[in-house]
Symmetry: C2
Subunit: 334 residues, 2 copies
DNA sequence: TTTCCGGGATACATCGTTGCAGAGAAAGGC
DNA sequence: GCCTTTCTCTGCAACGATGTATCCCGGAAA
C-alpha cells in the first residue's frame, strides 16, 4: 500500500484536510503546522495520488495530441517540441495516431482519449469542421495544421501560402521555369497541400509563368510516394527543371529517384521541400526548404491551449495564430 | 455533468452494481437485463469514467515509454510501433523524453509518471542497474535497448554484436580493409555503442584484419555529430575505405560530409549504418544498414510487459528477448 | 465584561467506479 | 418436501483526494 494523505495526517498530528491545504498552498496555515506536515511528507515519502486528485478535481494535467503518424519526421519533431513545452508548464502529452482514419479522429473527440486529457491539439485529416463541431464538447481544442480553418475553432498554423510562394519565387529567380510539384491533394483547397499549391500558383502568376497542370503530381505525403510520383513524371515524359516537394519527405523521396536516374541535382533539376526537418540539412545534396517556425508553433499552441483551459483566453470566436517562416537555401536549389 | 452509471441504473431500472456488472462482463446476468442496461447506455450515451475506474481498480491502462528524444528517427519509429501494438491490446502509451538526463530517468521510475502507468518500457541511458533496482517498485518494467543488461530485469533487445559483426564482415568481403567507426562511446562495453563496436572488432579479428584505434571516432548519436566526427577523421589525415556508423543518423551525417568533401560513395569510401530507419532506403546513395527487427521488438516488448502486468509471465528472473536482424545491402556499400 | 471578527484548523460529503458479502429465487439431489 | 447448489441481482464500503461548512480561539472593539 502506498502512503496516503491520511498517513501523513496521522504522522503530523493534523487532520487530513490540513495536509491537503499544505499541498495546495492554502493561505492560512501556521508556519509551524506547515513545517510539521512537510516533515511528515518527507519522512514517509508521500506522493499525491494523481488519479484520486483527477477524480475529485476533474483535471488530468494531460493534453491530447492527435496526429496521423508519429513516425513521420515532421510530426515526430513537432511532438517532441510540444511535449517539452507542455512539460515546462506541468502538463504531459498523450499522443494518438489516427493514420488519417476518420473513425479514430472522431473517437479522439469524444471517447476515452478525450476524458484522459484537459485539452486537445488536433490535426484533423479525414473529418470536416462540422463533424468536429458536432462532437467537440466544452473541453478546449486547438487545431494544428490547416485541414480545418474555421472561425469556430482556435488554430495555430504556418504561412503555407506565403512560404510556398516564397520558395517558388526562389526557384523562379534562379532561372527555373518548369517547376514540378509533388504531393498535391486533388480537390483540396484548404489543407496544407491545397494552400501550398495555391502559393506555388500565385508565385508563378506574379512571375508571368504559365501554370501547367501536367507538372502537378498527386501523392500522399510519404517518402516512398515522393519517389514514385517523380518516377511517374519522368516516365510520362514530362519535362521540368525543378521539383517542389510539398513537404520534405516527398522532396527527399523525389531527390532519391532523380539520383537513381542519373539526373544531376541541382544542375539539371533543382529540388525544394517544405518543413525543414533535421534530415534536410544533411541530405546529399542538402535540401533547400522552408522552416515553418516549428518552435513558435509548439510554444504558441501549448500556450493557447493552456490559456483556454485556465480560462485566460476568453475570445468567443476562434483565435488564429500564424507562425513566421524562413527560407533555407541549400545545395539542392541554390 | 456527464452521464454516470447511476443515471444508467435509474433509466434501466436496475441497481448501480448491475450496470457495473454488465460493463465488466460479469457471468450471471439475465440476457433481458443485460439488454435493458445496454439500451439505457446507448440511449443516454453513457461513457465510463476512466479516472474513477482507475482509482477504484488501481489500473490505468497506460504504459510508460521512457526514451531520450522522440525526434530521433529510430525512437520515433519505435514509439509509433509500440503505440500501435499497445492500442491493439487496449493500452495507451505515455511517452517521457529524458534527454539522457539521469534525474528524469529516476523520476520516471517513481514519480507521477510511474503512477500514471501500469508498466514501463524503459530505455535507460544515464543510470545504472542498481539505481533502477533501488527505485523500481513492484510495477512491471521492461528494459529496451542494451544500456542495462541485468538478470534482475526483463529485457527486449536486438542482436547488436552479431549484426554489427555481420555488417562489418560484409564490408570486409567487398574488399574494404580500413573501416572507420563513428559513434563509439569510450569506456562503454554494455550499451549499444559498446556492443556494436565489439561486433566490429570480432569481425575484424575473424578476418585477420588488425584493429586500429585511430579509426574509431566517438560521437553522441545525432546526425550533426556524425558529420563532425567524420570531418574530424578526414582533417586528422586518417585514411579509410569504409565507414560504419553505429546508427543510421550517424552514417547519414557522415555520408553528407563525405559528399561535401567530394569523396565518392561507395567508390572511394563505402558507408554502412545500423537501424534501417525509413530514411536509409531513400538516402542518396541509399544506405546499407542492418534492420534490427523493430516490429518484433515492438510486439515482443509490449507482449512481455502486458504478460507481466497480467501475471501471465511469472519467471522470477528477468526474461531476455533478442529480436532477429537482417542485412540491408544497398548502394552505399554494395 | 461582552461582542465581533478573522485566522487556523477540522468533519463530512463527494467525485464515479468496483469488490465484497449477501439476499432472494430457481433448479437439482435425495 | 427439504436441503443444497446455482443463478441473478442488490447494498454498502472503499479507492484517495478536495470543496463546503463549520468550529474554535485570541485579540480588538464596544
Amino acid at each position: 500500500m502506498a502512503v496516503t494523505m491520511n498517513d501523513v495526517a496521522r504522522a503530523a498530528g493534523v487532520s487530513l484536510k490540513t495536509v491537503s491545504n499544505v499541498l495546495n498552498d492554502y493561505e492560512f496555515i501556521r508556519p509551524a503546522t506547515k513545517q510539521r506536515v512537510q516533515d511528515a511528507i518527507a519522512e514517509l515519502g508521500y506522493e499525491a495520488n494523481l488519479t484520486a486528485r483527477s477524480l475529485r478535481s476533474g483535471k488530468t494535467s494531460m493534453l491530447g495530441l492527435v496526429l496521423s503518424d508519429l513516425s513521420a519526421p515532421y510530426y515526430a519533431e513537432l511532438a517532441s517540441k510540444l511535449m517539452k513545452a507542455a512539460a515546462q508548464r506541468g502538463y504531459r502529452v498523450l499522443v494518438e495516431q489516427s493514420d488519417a482514419e476518420g473513425s479514430v479522429e472522431l473517437n479522439a473527440l469524444q471517447g476515452p482519449f478525450r476524458q484522459l486529457t484537459d485539452g486537445l491539439l488536433f490535426t484533423p485529416l479525414a473529418i470536416d469542421a462540422d463533424a468536429v463541431a458536432a462532437r467537440v464538447g466544452k473541453k478546449p481544442l486547438v487545431m494544428l495544421g490547416e485541414h480545418i480553418v474555421d472561425p469556430r475553432f482556435d488554430l495555430v498554423t504556418m504561412k503555407n501560402r506565403e512560404a510556398a510562394a516564397a520558395i517558388t519565387t526562389h526557384l523562379l529567380s534562379s532561372g527555373r521555369r518548369r517547376i514540378a510539384v509533388i504531393g498535391a491533394h486533388p480537390g483540396e483547397s484548404t489543407g496544407s497541400a491545397g494552400l501550398r499549391l495555391n502559393g506555388y500558383r500565385t508565385a508563378l502568376e506574379e512571375a508571368g509563368v504559365p501554370f501547367d497542370p501536367a507538372l502537378v503530381a498527386p501523392a500522399v505525403w510519404r517518402r516512398d510516394n515522393g519517389a514514385t510520383a517523380l518516377a511517374g513524371l519522368l516516365d510520362a515524359g514530362v519535362r521540368f527543371d525543378a521539383v517542389f516537394g510539398l513537404n520534405d519527405v516527398l522532396a527527399l523521396g523525389a531527390l532519391h529517384e532523380l539520383q537513381i536516374r542519373g539526373v544531376r541535382v541541382p544542375q539539371d533539376v533543382a529540388v525544394a521541400g517544405f518543413d525543414d526537418i533535421d534530415e534536410a540539412r544533411f541530405a546529399s545534396p542538402s535540401l533547400t526548404t522552408v522552416s515553418p517556425g516549428m518552435d513558435e508553433i509548439a510554444e504558441r499552441s501549448i500556450g493557447l491551449l493552456l490559456d483556454r483551459i485556465a480560462g485566460n483566453e476568453t475570445a468567443a470566436t476562434g483565435v488564429h495564430v500564424e507562425a513566421g517562416f524562413e527560407l533555407k537555401i541549400r545545395e539542392s536549389a541554390p
